[in-house]
Every structure is written in structure tokens, then in C-alpha cells.
């Protein structure tokens, strides 16, 4: 420190340091304050500034510290109460965690089993669609063409051919533009053949999906379809193909009388 401390600038108008209360001299007090506030390049002033910086820093730090924790200020019983609260909360949250985890597991397994169920239902739908004729089908098979310009072939002959194809394992059959299903019927109308009420154009074309070799040989057995048709005076041709598209569709009608029997609940 300086050995000769800087004397505070004494007010020029007021002599003396002014000990004691200044009786009613507010304005001069303000002036004195302002005068002291003026920057003075002394070591003590710089030191005071340093202390002020430290004070401000300490205040801010302490305030932030108090904001952060606050637990240090509490008494023991309050701390015990808070600890109890935290323990209870922890137990409750652990319970919640268990419940949520179990429901999550249930949902996960449910999702996988429902996707399994969806897949099997889709498979079943595809199978039934082919069986009932509501879905187009494709696959290997044969095409039987019967050229019958003289209308010698009867509907009974076509029914025989269809039955023969079914015996040989035909899975989907289309005659002309008609998909053959369980309810398909045949009729002779005015020398032409109707299948399920729809006239079949010449030459008759029967597409069947199944094992081509088996069905072709079933057509060609002695006394079979080919021979009978030829005996009628028409010209049958059997062509095996790697891929046959059956595109005709059968439109389903809801049964009026038949009702499904409810499956016994497992």
C-alpha cells in the first residue's frame, strides 16, 4: 500500500472532511458521491476495483450454486422426508417400468402373432379364391380345343371332359369365358352349348391348371374325351403349356339358406 494514502478530494466549497451528519446538505452529498466515483489512478482504487470484481463474482457464483442444489440449506428432518419421497417415487416408477415392459412385450408378441394370422389368412384367401373362382390363377396346365363346326359335341361331352380333368387333378378350369366352379352347369341350347347360362363360342376351349402330363394323358386314354369327341365328328387338340393364365372370374353370391356352423371355441 502507498505509505501516503491518497487523501479523498475534499470539496472545494466545504472545508474539512465533514465529520458528523451534514445537516440537510443533500445536493453536496450527491456531489461528493459523484466526485468519489470519478476514476482515480491509484493503487488502492485499482485494488478496490479488484475486490469489487471478486465480490460480484462471488455473489453470482453463490446465487447459481444455491439455484443448482438447494439441498445443503435443508435441515436433517427435511432431508429425511425428501429421501423418503424419493424412495417412494422410485418404487412407484419401478412398478410403472415393470408394467410398461410387460405390456410392451405383450404388444410385441401380439404384433408378431397378428402378422402371422394375417399371413395365414391371406394364404387361405388365395386358396379359396382359386377354389371358388374369384381370383385369377396361373400355372402349368393344358389347353383342350375342340373344333366342332357341325355342333356335334353335346354339353354332356364337355361335362365328361371337365370331370376327367378334375379326376386328373385340375385345380382351376375355364371353359370359353366361363370360370368353372362347383355350381357350374351345362346346357344344350339351339345346337350350341351354354355353360352357366353363357353361350360358349366355337371352337370350344378348355383351359385347366394342373399337372400337364397327367391331364393330357387323361384326355388321351382309350375311350376317353379325345376319342369320344373324335367319334362325335369334331376335332380335339390337347396342348400342354408351362404357363396358363385363367382370367375368367366367378362372382359369388351370398348363400340364402346355408349358414356356417360356428367353429367350436378352443
Amino acid at each position: 500500500m502507498s505509505t501516503a494514502p491518497p487523501t479523498p478530494p475534499s470539496p472545494p466549497t466545504r472545508t474539512g472532511p465533514g465529520y458528523g451528519p451534514d445537516d440537510g446538505e443533500g445536493p453536496s452529498s450527491w456531489k461528493r458521491l459523484l466526485r468519489m466515483a470519478r476514476p482515480r489512478a491509484t493503487r488502492a482504487n485499482a485494488f478496490a476495483a479488484l475486490l469489487a470484481i471478486a465480490l460480484g463474482f462471488a455473489i453470482a457464483t453463490q446465487v447459481q450454486q444455491t439455484d443448482q442444489s438447494g439441498l445443503e440449506q435443508l435441515r436433517e428432518d427435511e432431508l429425511v422426508r425428501i429421501l423418503d419421497d424419493v424412495n417412494q417415487e422410485q418404487g412407484r416408477l419401478a412398478n410403472d417400468t415393470r408394467e410398461l415392459e410387460s405390456s410392451r412385450d405383450a404388444l410385441l408378441s401380439g404384433a408378431s402373432s397378428s402378422s402371422e394370422a394375417l399371413k395365414s389368412a391371406q394364404d387361405r384367401l388365395d386358396t379359396l379364391g382359386i377354389l371358388t373362382g374369384t381370383s385369377p390363377a396361373t400355372g402349368p396346365g393344358i389347353v383342350v380345343t375342340i373344333n366342332d363346326p357341325d355342333h356335334k359335341v353335346t354339353s354332356a361331352r364337355l361335362l365328361d371332359a371337365l370331370q376327367e380333368l378334375r379326376d386328373a387333378g385340375a385345380e382351376a378350369v375355364q371353359i370359353g369365358d366361363v370360370r368353372v366352379v362347383a355350381s357350374t352347369w351345362f346346357a344344350d341350347v339351339d345346337g350350341a352349348i351354354e355353360v352357366s347360362g353363357q353361350r360358349v363360342a366355337q371352337p370350344y376351349s378348355i383351359k385347366a391348371i394342373g399337372d400337364p402330363a397327367t391331364m393330357a394323358s387323361a384326355m388321351d386314354i382309350p375311350g376317353g374325351v379325345t376319342e369320344s369327341v373324335r367319334g362325335d365328328g369334331a376335332t380335339p387338340t390337347v396342348r400342354q403349356a408351362e404357363s396358363i393364365d385363367i382370367t375368367a372370374l366367378h362372382s359369388l353370391q351370398a348363400p340364402r339358406y346355408a349358414r356356417p356352423v360356428p367353429a367350436p371355441s378352443k
Binding site: 491518497p6 479523498p8 465533514g18 451534514d22 443533500g26 469489487a52 463474482f57 453470482a60
Partner: protein, 110 residues
């Protein structure tokens, strides 16, 4: 003026930096801050009384801080730390109030 700027600057530094108070200092910092505030208000009052002295301010500031922290430290060692802290805060608070009252009388004549 310079100390006031220093105070503001210190607050800003503390806010921006935001350091953790070391565990050793945690019981003493609040008391030290209040003691320093007491020294600051005392200094302002001294200015208005016309008896301000830089050296006295610096020494009283440091002495206040050290003594306040030491009292709390001693109280901690004796097992009465919290009570003694309260006592120090009360005493310093009373001093700050009286200093502020004196400043107020000087500045506002009220």
C-alpha cells in the same frame, strides 16, 4: 465508478462462467459475500461522511471477509456452525441496515 463497473463485471463473469463452488468453500462463501457487502455499504457511508479512505476500505473488506469466514469455520469445528452462521448474518444484516439508513439520510435527507 471503477469499483461499480468491477462489481457488474464480476457478476457477468460469474454468470457466464458459472463455476461450481468448491466443497471446502461452500459454507463460507455466503457469509463472506455478506461480510463484503457490509464493507461496501460501510465504504459508501464513509464517502458520504467524508472520511473515506481507500486503504481502510481495502483492509476492512478483506478483514470482514476473513473474519466472517473464520467465525463460521470455528462454529463448524465446535458443532454450532449453522447457529453461528445465523448469528453472523444477523449482525452483518443489522450493520448493513444501519449503514444504508445513514446513506439514505445523507442522500435524501430522510
Amino acid at each position: 465508478m471503477i469499483p461499480l463497473l468491477g462489481l457488474i463485471g464480476g457478476v457477468l463473469i460469474g454468470l457466464l462462467w458459472g463455476p461450481d463452488v468448491p466443497l471446502v468453500l461452500q459454507p463460507y462463501l455466503p457469509i463472506a459475500v455478506i461480510a463484503a457487502l457490509d464493507a461496501v455499504f460501510g465504504a459508501v457511508r464513509a464517502v458520504l461522511d467524508g472520511i473515506f479512505n481507500d486503504k481502510v476500505f481495502v483492509v476492512s473488506f478483506l478483514a470482514n471477509v476473513v473474519v466472517a469466514a473464520f467465525i463460521v469455520f470455528l462454529g463448524d469445528q465446535l458443532g454450532v456452525g449453522s447457529q453461528l452462521s445465523t448469528g453472523v448474518v444477523v449482525v452483518l444484516g443489522v450493520r448493513i441496515f444501519s449503514n444504508v439508513a445513514s446513506i439514505r439520510r445523507h442522500l435524501f435527507r430522510a
